[in-house]
Symmetry: C2
Subunit: 534 residues, 2 copies
């Protein structure tokens, strides 16, 4: 996997990059954050001065759907501007009084960086306490409390967590090439994807999107009912092939395809689900160039971005030294499409699901001001933003308790956890799988290993379809006690016959001993199916 990083800042001098120290200075200068119940906030309140020395993003009016263009600002939220008037008494918003919130305090026990394991958390973790009136009383940090978190909030998210997310985004994607980027919290990337699709695609316009030929099944199930057609782009071990994408778009025949030329690419650049493929920096640049050429907007879905692992060196070889500092860790990450996005044609989807907990139902998007504004207008009429309870716990953890450095150390810890798990499944594959039939690319990121089964070697290859062989192997797997997911379930174009035979396995969930047994069973199932029957 190519993970070298030459110039993530696109020519920007290194000294201009925002650092953890720089964030501390900015916060000190800004003074204590005052953000009471349902406060308005946006990323511009938290971006560094460096972020503004670039041109603005392009406008996307010509791509927006009828639905998105029709959204107007919430009339009650407009009235909120009067709340700033000193001495004004509001009989306006129907917000319950915090005195009627029956949770008085919350305390969570969390690890102290860098001692992140469960045993270390039990031994040296800390209790983080959150009271109802911490802001008024100046207690427990005095910035965010239950009276705020448990009431209604803004759909963009609380100012407290939005500040952290904005800073984190600037820290990681150093030097975004346009100035008017913003973040907004989401209820997770599945919901954010649905909103994005409704923002850019119209059933009535006969819109279509492009994605990897094998793609996240829930994303496909989100797209289809909206009347949006999905077309798959061929892949190799580094994921989506820009040449094939260019070819598809250059030769687009609306009539033959039954859909308008796609204006949206949905891609998972790192540890793609289901293939585990990670796009190299050059691959990303090439994909971006094709999107520029055909004026395609990019939905960059990156739940596994921070699950980029140590390079795989093979069994019984010395491990590559892990990053020694958070700077080294950040330098080692493949640059995001966001860092290459001179046009502002990327909406990046981040999520806490894979790197903290899925049950928080919190993620965030980063995109141009225009796109984020349209997104928030929609969120005000559907999710209204993520759970305030989740937000305050996440804020207390990643901001007040860990800080940016502690959080990056947590990600470095996870990197090694996932490296170990990946190496375990790869060792099991090398031990148990028939190498003449089953092949794989060691994943550089994520939680999936994509196993390619050479169906041409099957004794009934000429009479049985790939789907039939796949189903037979799947059933034998279940009989033998292992669940691996059928590759055909991920086809972007479900009505087309698959070109190959694949199974998706994950190394995220099962214990390491169980993974070895599971791969052994999978190998036995393949061998049984490929044995010439008498």
């Amino acid at each position: 996997m190519l993970v070298e990083k030459k110039d993530p800042g696109l020519g920007q001098p290194a000294q201009e990059r925002l650092t953890i120290e720089g964030i501390k200075e900015l916060r000190a200068k800004a003074g204590k954050l005052y953000a009471p119940t349902a406060s308005y906030s946006d990323s511009d309140m938290f971006k560094s001065p460096q972020a503004y020395g670039k041109p603005k993003a392009k406008r996307w009016d010509h791509l927006l759907s009828q639905e998105s263009k029709a959204r107007e600002a919430c009339v009650l939220k407009l009235a909120a501007k009067h709340l700033k008037k000193p001495g004004l008494i509001s009989l306006g918003g129907g917000l319950p009084s915090a005195e009627n919130f029956p949770i008085d305090s919350l305390t969570m026990h969390v690890p102290t960086p860098p001692r992140f394991t469960e045993a270390e958390t039990a031994a040296s973790g800390q209790d983080v306490r959150i009271g109802k009136y911490d802001v008024a009383r100046g207690e427990n940090g005095g910035v965010y409390d239950l009276s705020i978190a448990m009431n209604y909030g803004q759909s963009v998210g609380s100012a407290q967590l939005l500040r952290w997310v904005t800073e984190h985004t600037e820290l990681v994607h150093r030097g975004l090439p346009y100035s008017d980027w913003r973040c907004a919290l989401t209820i997770g990337s599945t919901g954010a994807l649905e909103q994005a699709l409704r923002m850019f695609c119209d059933r009535a316009r006969n819109d279509a999107i492009l994605t990897e030929e094998y793609s996240f099944s829930t994303a496909l199930e989100t797209t289809a009912p909206l009347g949006i057609k999905v077309f798959g782009v061929k892949m190799d071990g580094q994921g989506l092939l820009p040449g094939d994408m260019d070819e598809i778009l250059s030769s687009w025949d609306e009539k033959a395809r039954g859909a308008r030329k796609p204006t949206v690419l949905y891609t998972v650049p790192s540890g793609q689900n289901p293939t585990g493929a990670t796009q190299s920096e050059q691959r990303r640049r090439d994909i971006y160039a094709v999107c520029q050429k055909h004026d395609v907007f990019i939905l960059e879905d990156e739940p596994y971005y921070f699950l980029q692992m140590q390079p795989y060196t093979g069994p019984n070889t010395p491990a590559v030294p892990s990053p020694a500092t958070v700077e080294e860790f950040l330098d080692g990450l493949v640059p995001s499409l966001l860092t290459m996005d001179v046009d502002g044609r990327v909406m990046r989807l981040d999520s806490f699901s894979k790197v903290v907990v899925p049950g928080s139902r919190i993620g965030w998007i980063t995109a141009s001001e225009q796109i984020v504004e349209r997104y928030i207008r929609h969120a005000e009429c559907c999710s209204q933003g993520p759970s305030g309870i989740s937000q305050i716990l996440m804020y207390k953890l990643v901001d007040e308790t860990w800080g940016h450095e502690g959080y990056l150390k947590w990600l470095m810890h996870l990197r090694l956890e996932y490296t170990r798990r990946r190496d375990t499944i790869l060792a099991a594959c090398e031990k148990h799988l028939p190498r003449d039939i089953v092949s794989w690319v060691p994943p550089a990121a994520g939680m999936f290993l994509w196993l390619k089964v050479d169906h041409t070697k099957h004794p009934q290859a000429s009479s049985k379809s790939i789907l039939e062989i796949e189903e037979a192997i799947f059933n034998t797997c279940i009989d033998k006690g292992v669940l691996a997911i059928r590759g055909s379930w991920f086809r972007a174009e479900r009505d087309h016959a698959p070109s190959g035979l694949f199974f998706r396995t994950t190394f995220a969930a099962a214990s390491e001993a169980a993974m070895d047994a599971a791969i052994e069973r999978f190998g036995a199932a393949v061998r049984e199916n490929f044995a010439a029957t008498a």
Copy 2:
């Protein structure tokens, strides 16, 4: 306000109704709930045997949108059925391992029923502790823990909270008239409404809905961008007028109206936003009959249902004795449309926002199996259900700590809190408002007082429009230091001139002293505007 309740069970003998004791017996019989990470569950697992002795709901295929009909089951969730096989090792779902969840335990401090005030909570509240592995370790109840709540879950909600919600629904809406009703958790009623609109309405079909002539502005803003037209039904002090609704539907002219005859009614029966009107039992029966006559599906949005207050008796009169028992409390509630729903044509939207905390972002719907199934198929591709962190806190509070009886006592406590607040604002109105110009109906539920200003008495009534007078009063109010919301912002048909001049005020948020001052300022603003200028 008519809040008498004659026969909420529709003729069902009282002994068949589910009681709190009955729930305890059912739970004892069912044994300890076992619902590990991402368990499937549905209300049928938790309904009482009494719930099944009724006919099934009607089918609604003829009303469903193209989008809703196209939804298919999630392919990865289908694979989950194999997980039941003993000894099977899953390399299937990409669920992170709980060992990588950095929150080890949560503790919340909550009141002990019936001592619910903040002072009582501080003095006699209890600490509720939640560990990561409580289920495996048999600790802290052993039914629901952080390893489950912080991982992915089912979109219908966790079995633990769904059980409570199902039981609560059966307890409150005693004797639903059809058997195949179900509940599903939501991320709040705004999101649930958007999903419902996408389920029943099609832009391409030129669909329309009916609602109160003054309606919740966010609901209107949710509807409009979907290309769904909204038509308002006239109201009186008891809300929507069934006669006007019948008249609108009977005389529907698709061409003149520019939309198909409405197939959906969106209504807030109790403490309607913005008018504060509460439909009596007879009013609800009459509305239901009109919906049957015209085959209209009902979205019953009831965030304020449990904010039904004590009857208003006027200033300096003895208070009506409050309900002595939870049974008396339940008997005093106006029956829901759900209890009248022989066809299964109601989707009821409930929410914890107004009665526990808005920041949980948890509510639930109740409807027929067909409708709930379509709803969940959509939720799997957008919200994926509410935050697991919110779910476990809410479960621990309302189920394990309070139980059904404790929760009903909490609602009884809130009833008196809101009664006191309402009586405060009404006393202020009687003291400070010019009764010859401003009039109101004392609200029987909710958090809003709707003030009608007689614009015909304005000195420039013949030359100024209602909107102009409304704007002038609003601005004077801001000058004098009070924010009251302009009635015209809630018009269902925004392009039509309003028929009257109204302001919405809330008694939920401001302190009781501030409310008196605010109403005094409002009165002064009205007087100033209505004073004949020389």
